[in-house]
Symmetry: C2
Subunit: 642 residues, 2 copies
Amino acid sequence: MYKVTFKFENSEDVEVFAALGENLLEVAKKANVAIDAPCNGNAACGKCKVKLVGGELDSAKTRHITDEEYAQGWRLSCVSKVIADVEVLVPDIASAYRSRMKVADLGSTEELQIFEQTKADIAEAGIGFKNDLEVVAITMDVPSLDDTMPDNERLVWAVEAACGVSRVKLPFAVLKKLAGVLRASSFDVQCIIRRAEDKVEVLDILPAGAEAKVCGLAIDIGTTTVSALIINMLDGSILAKASAGNGQIRYGADVINRIIEQQKEGGRKKLQDAIIKETINPLIHTMCQSAGLNTRQIYRMCVAGNTTMNHLLLGVDADPVRMEPYIPTFFETNSVYANDLGIDIYEHARIIMAPNIGSYVGGDITAGTLASTIWNKEEMSLFIDLGTNGELVFGNAEFMMSCACSAGPAFEGGDISCGMRATDGAIEACKIDKETMEPTFTIVGDEGQKPVGLCGSGIIDVISELFRCGMISPKGKFIREGERIRHDKYGMGSYVLAFKENAASVKDIEITEVDIDNFIRAKGAIFSAIRVMLQSLDFDVSMIDHVYVAGGIGSGINMKNAVSIGMFPDIELEKFSYIGNSSLSGAYTMLYSTEAEAKVAELSHNMTYLELSNEPTYMDEFVACCFIPHTDATLFPSLEMY
Amino acid sequence: MYKVTFKFENSEDVEVFAALGENLLEVAKKANVAIDAPCNGNAACGKCKVKLVGGELDSAKTRHITDEEYAQGWRLSCVSKVIADVEVLVPDIASAYRSRMKVADLGSTEELQIFEQTKADIAEAGIGFKNDLEVVAITMDVPSLDDTMPDNERLVWAVEAACGVSRVKLPFAVLKKLAGVLRASSFDVQCIIRRAEDKVEVLDILPAGAEAKVCGLAIDIGTTTVSALIINMLDGSILAKASAGNGQIRYGADVINRIIEQQKEGGRKKLQDAIIKETINPLIHTMCQSAGLNTRQIYRMCVAGNTTMNHLLLGVDADPVRMEPYIPTFFETNSVYANDLGIDIYEHARIIMAPNIGSYVGGDITAGTLASTIWNKEEMSLFIDLGTNGELVFGNAEFMMSCACSAGPAFEGGDISCGMRATDGAIEACKIDKETMEPTFTIVGDEGQKPVGLCGSGIIDVISELFRCGMISPKGKFIREGERIRHDKYGMGSYVLAFKENAASVKDIEITEVDIDNFIRAKGAIFSAIRVMLQSLDFDVSMIDHVYVAGGIGSGINMKNAVSIGMFPDIELEKFSYIGNSSLSGAYTMLYSTEAEAKVAELSHNMTYLELSNEPTYMDEFVACCFIPHTDATLFPSLEMY
């Protein structure tokens, strides 16, 4: 056995023992050391770099490590074997997440406008914005030797009288603080209550003078990114917002790798800790601090996540999700409370889980479908959520069908060497001059902001422009020469969008053939899914009246370019709308509106699910879509052909 | 500041710093070091001995420490001040408890017979012995690609069909294990359910072949002693039993001292930990081990304790219990579950709290009243529970009145130098020869058992005999000389029941004037309470048709002797019955029988509460009762006068 010492910039060393030849990434996982590994150890993503600072490793050299980096001691942990005592420096994974996605969704004016528009659309569709939480003033007689009713009965009687109900439930959390609050306030209090028909549950009690804040937490748990809002449950206003990388990412970038990981001994607990302790609770604390809230003032939570994320959040075995016949433990559940999961909010807070409808179509899509309002229209609409899984819902007020495909994290900037979320410094739009091959671009942020990386909408533009300028082939390989085009010693081509001198980055911002290939497969997954789902219904793309595009790809998405690379069907551009993070806006709506919560349950019951892997044509379609724009150019009649 | 090091036989040292002159017992409490201190630092009980093994203490010499002990380094911590760095050895408090009370209630044949008789009496009074927990076999179709209902819906449908109900609740604990159990058992399972009208809650799920154990925990939380039973909820049989000292005892022997202690910073948590982590959870583990059970197989719990014990158990502020107008947080509550308190049983187990009816008449008495069955009789009965608090209930099927008095722990052998519970080695009955003053006694346990100490029934006999033989005055002072009668240098007299050569003890077994005084005050509290309560109703002792005596005093109680020392009223001896630990048998019944639970709620609503401290005659009565038998001998006409 050899001693492996993991060193960190901001925390204590972790020492473990490993056998000769053991894989360093596996050693790290066993020791619960967080190393970013989106591809889960397949040497594909190049993210699991560590720096050798003592001892030796038997480490293959790959294209992800430059000669200079190798000389500095950088190694890819997934291709490194333990052969001696060794010390490695592990980059701070939390800051790695932050560097890739910094700012809250809804951070930009555009996103906020889209959110407000979504709310307006849902309201117009007839959903009342109101929930069952209230604050009521309760005044009681002060007890005396002649009036010796105990505190809890005294309060129950007073609440019954004030609310006109016959049953009042006092949970333990209220019982525990009752004596103190009643005496501190001379029996003049406010109760935060939940009202249901003829009964009331008292969620909290505070003195009459105190400021009664009744907050809720809406959270979109994406495979790659987690976005959250804290709202005022009494008026729906947003009090805080934040997003962060999903801490589970070190166990794999996609749901399949995470399910495999949770099957290992102690795996469920690790995955659950990664999302709750490392991601959600820190987000809650950050938001509460910024808004001057106590975490216990959050009395309800709504989660929208895919089926796997929902199972991992609850610590429920997710393996059946991926194993035939693909039967998850639950689609819907209403028996989960904050203290079941250790989420740092009011301990008895109910957790609303947006319902799943299949193994790969989850609560993010049912909540997103609510937000899209396609369920309220006569016209045939296609709702596309561009996440790590791509999901589609097609239909109208009469019927809805859904399906899912695995797109990978490319739309959110994952698996792209200079990829990032649509936040400050992201290149969100790009033009390339066909002659000079010089780019011009639009960058998210204030004027003068230098580029940091490429978000999804920027990647679409760059690929579309590279193709339009004849710089890449339909397969995404560079076919022109130039100052900005270069090839490394493995022959991999890349195009430099910004040299580091002009960028807010320590290296050139470029797009590589690997990036392009990753993105082509992502867009191919989406387009083939659209094709196969419509075919199964005997529909044609021409019958689509409207397309609603959601996800972290960015509000700068250029629909024309997305069509031109074969990502979306070739229909009139005015039929496309970008609706932002529909999972989060759906979760917000379910949290704030009792009617919306019921509506999503109804939608989920009425939505059918198409398992694409059961469709015989899907693989062929996918392969045909892995070109720019497609092997069958007739599908894109409006495109100028080169 | 000086360093104080607490040393232990079986655990690590605890080091803290204390100021010059700080009281050692207070230093220990702050450091959460368990030192037995029933009188809470009033130098009255002599239990808080520690042994000086290094450094110095400024320590008063008291009658509780012999010269020999003092020379060995023994000091009373409550009269010791820190004046230098010091090291003291702390006796193991857990074994101190055990030495005073070793064996489970119901341990003896007599106690078990009494318990069975109680059950029979309650059944005869019309209470059905049945609860709402069941085990049902549930078989589901195995899912397939054509039958993709998720696990939880599949189970809910199957339970609805099997139980003929329209609503099924699956708590989170079941959801979490569902996938594993269903697949391990090919969807052929057993559910442990709770049935209520048209709905069912699934408490647990296990494979079809597994042995389904549905257990319950009945627990009597006495101020001094905690007694518990684990039962089979399906047939009522007792699977395990145990008792232990209440770990809170180091914070004071009576409820007032404990309430004062819980008011200090962090006090509520400390008191709660002392009863749950140090007392109840170890009892549960001991019992489960002896019965071959998993603690998670306990699906329900019933607690009978006095009002203060109930508040401390829940971690609810108990201060209002002792402060005018004496308003506790709750009499009844049904919103407490095992995981709210950290009790090591099934996490969602409901905790039935036997209802309190006043600040000093709690669930132990309402549960005990059920067990006494006085509520089912036309005759006027008096129910007396001889605990650390003495409580009385007087009445019949028409009305019931209750009251409480503070008796101290003497009935359970506490505050008595050689006192112990009625268990192996306890002198439970005694005769003294008037001429020779030689005692003969009956000892609990097998033949040949040597005496260890004196239990409550034995103390009654000894005092009664000492008085009958003219050895003590009506005030309890020794007035004869003899080989077995001696006086220490402070002038305190004592009578040796057994010299250490003839005892299973390291010292002579004796009864001292302090012991007698403690007991006289305990019996005086009881008798004066009886008098004052009857007077308030314009009743006379002659109108009592029956007296039911409960508590840890022991089944050997000699009612004639109890009357002769003025503890009980002078009525016909055949009117007295000893009914054992009625709090525990009541808790057992409430746990096992849903009808009993409802009956106790009904009894508690119909029982009035007399606050003795508001009765102007009580103090005078008490003082008059602190004689043997009483200052007014006419109250005891049947006694031969000496």
